[in-house]
Symmetry: C2
Subunit: 432 residues, 2 copies
């Protein structure tokens, strides 16, 4: 038997699953509070769903193969193409704005390095059909609220927000010619990861930009804070109008009481080419980890994919960095849930009474276990402790006769005889 999972794939033992389910529950709770509805698609899709958006070079990063029906198929690397297909199929019937979210497992065949995973789970949350900046604010707020509900504050998590339209206007104002905008975006995207002189060299190579323009272009990526962005915008043609959506979006986040989390920062570009307006990322405040979440507005993408021509804004938030952060901040949940009660049969004849009580407690929502074989009381109590049970409920011939049990509180070490009425009442499940 192969001794382990494939490289880059995770086995989820119960404690790992408990952490994952905790993150999933928070994702679902926040999405639900914002009125988003959950959807899902197949983990296996036609390969062309992805090549169409990202070109044939994406194939090198996919788990793809030819199935026996001679179809080129791939394990989904992202959710947006599936979303585009599903929305397109019912574009007329769906009430706009569409507020949908999903929790897909996604797959990438990246060369294995530093324990990089080849799968992860990702919250995808999108508003489709609304071009205005309140929609952008809504999805950024949802991303921040995931962090808040997980117990993370502004000292743990920062939302960095930019707007590609603003960046574009400022770069044009700095003298960057239209054909060189892509290069300037790419350099600003790397501003925090590469030395400044290397970026300048790259920007001035092959006649991309004159040296002075390259300097000014990189300086645009240094602008931080909404007032500074507004100042800069006032000085370029069309600037005051182009900065309005960002101002409205940040204002809405302030009205929602979330401004303590928000930094306006023009160095946020989001590498992918399809973003068309506001973009944002969530990071741990110490910046030790990769981004928690990234997203933005992608108004032309759904139509470009052959779907409905609807504006859209959304984000993807993975489970891996979030899980690392929760562990580092010690706000991860404890071990997988423990038992309310472990029922102990003193003799074999007491087993039917144990089974009956176990089932009655379970029917009332209790989490209950008992020994599946005849063994000593000591061994049963040991198993009760190993399972983290709150109470041991002991039934022997005497207890059976009076219809009650002895309830031992395994935390406090106290025990007392309880009646049948108390068992049917709060004696065991009352403290939940």
């Amino acid at each position: 038997m192969p001794a382990r999972a494939l490289p880059g794939f995770r086995d989820f033992y119960p404690d790992d699953t408990a952490l994952r389910n905790h993150i999933f529950a928070v994702w679902r709770t926040v999405a639900s509070r914002y009125g988003f509805e959950e959807y899902d698609g197949p983990p296996l899709e036609p390969l062309e769903l992805y090549t169409q958006k990202s070109g044939p070079e994406i194939v090198g990063q996919l788990y793809h193969f030819r199935d026996r029906g001679d179809r080129e198929v791939a394990l989904r690397p992202e959710m947006t193409p599936t979303l585009a297909r599903m929305v397109a199929a019912r574009a007329r019937a769906l009430k706009k704005p569409i507020r949908w979210f999903s929790l897909p497992q996604l797959f990438r065949y990246e060369r294995q390095q530093r324990g990089r995973l080849r799968e992860h789970f990702q919250l995808n949350l999108d508003v489709i059909g609304e071009p205005g900046p309140l929609a952008d604010a809504e999805v950024i707020a949802a991303a921040i609220d995931v962090a808040r509900l997980l117990g993370l504050g502004p000292q743990d998590v920062r939302a960095r927000v930019s707007d590609r339209q603003v960046l574009r206007a400022l770069l044009l104002g700095a003298g960057v010619a239209e054909p060189s905008l892509g290069a300037a975006f790419a350099a600003i995207d790397k501003i925090e990861r590469e030395p400044r002189d290397r970026l300048l060299t790259w920007l001035t190579e092959d006649g991309k930009l004159p040296a002075g323009v390259a300097q000014r272009a990189l300086a645009v990526g240094d602008v931080k804070g909404l007032p500074a962005v507004q100042d800069a915008a006032r000085k370029v043609p069309g600037g005051p109008a182009v900065v309005e959506p960002l101002v409205e979006c940040v204002g809405a986040l302030e009205a929602m009481g979330l401004s303590a989390f928000v930094d306006v920062d023009l160095c946020i570009v989001r590498g992918l080419a399809y973003y068309s307006g506001i973009v944002f990322e969530l990071f741990d405040a110490q910046r030790n980890l990769r981004a928690i979440c990234g997203g933005g507005r992608y108004d032309g993408l759904l139509a470009a994919l052959g779907g409905a021509d609807l504006p859209a804004v959304g984000f993807g938030m993975g489970d891996v960095v979030l899980g690392e952060l929760l562990k580092a901040r010690a706000v991860a949940p404890g071990a997988a849930g423990s038992l309310d009660a472990f029922l102990v049969a003193v003799t074999a004849e007491d087993t039917p009474a144990v089974l009956q009580l176990a089932h009655a407690l379970r029917d009332r929502g209790g989490r209950v276990e008992f020994s599946l074989k005849e063994q000593s009381i000591a061994k049963q109590l040991k198993l009760a402790s190993a399972r983290g049970a709150r109470f041991a409920v002991i039934i022997g011939p005497e207890e059976r006769q009076r219809g009650g049990a002895v309830v031992r509180d395994l935390r406090r070490g106290e025990e007392r005889a309880v009646s049948a009425a108390e068992l049917a009442g709060d004696a065991v499940l009352g403290g939940r």
Copy 2:
């Protein structure tokens, strides 16, 4: 863009996802009440994990391919080999009995027929490390309790229970020779799907069984009800001992108050060869659908897979038949959850107050939406109705001045002015 999912794969629109999540929630609730902990493994596994158990012929039914690391891999068709691997890796550290469950999506490349799916979700629930029949009763009870918690009663769902050891003893007693037991099992397995004379012909072909023995062998498959099984067992060598586990298991289900769901029926064999004792299936009572669930004891399997030598009992329960049954019995949940409140801004200046209130209500767990663009009150109220909101909360300049709102009950059609204190209290979320 490909217009639809691959054949045999499902898109889950919000209503479909709501049904699926309802089933998942019930699966998790019941498993948790029984003290089971959730685990998961990768959807992609080494191919040999499956060929080892089922032989090379399984390959024809798998989604399998060679990845770029030159590994033969497959989308998981079942969970047990992954479970065996994970338990083997920590066999010593895990406290026995191990009570684990999982909700994997499973994949089969079956030839497409009658809309058969190539993927489904399945609750896998297993007790590992306990050979006694209370463990069998525990997993059967959990399967029945899933049906109960979904709103299905004994008139909707039947659990049919048998025991291969009993079947074996009775077949030997009926004159079936040891080497022909497999053929007799296979014939009894088909007893409800094939005409009796065809089974007899097949059983007597190629010298498998003499005609009289074949008749008696099939008659063993007709035995129904525990008393009749006990009667039959008394008449064969070793019968009274071999029937004991089944008697204990059925007795335990009775003590749990579940006997109304249970039929002992020796025609239940479970085709797969690895079952070693008690076997069971859940069916819809009208038997219009395929089995809801199937499982049993597989004591030798984990060791045979190269894992730990531990006895085990468990079942798999798919989401598809269960979903069909819930719809047929009209106990499926309604549409995806609706909103608590839709907030309406009378003028653009009211939007910050709407945002602030929306966020305050969301922080208290409310499900809240508002218009993401400036539009007429009528259009906002229309969207509120389309989203199924319970209340429309209207904020205009006057309401803003006094810090309150007008709350319209969209079910009753009544509206009233409420104060800020009422908004912070129960005015909107009180009826949840």
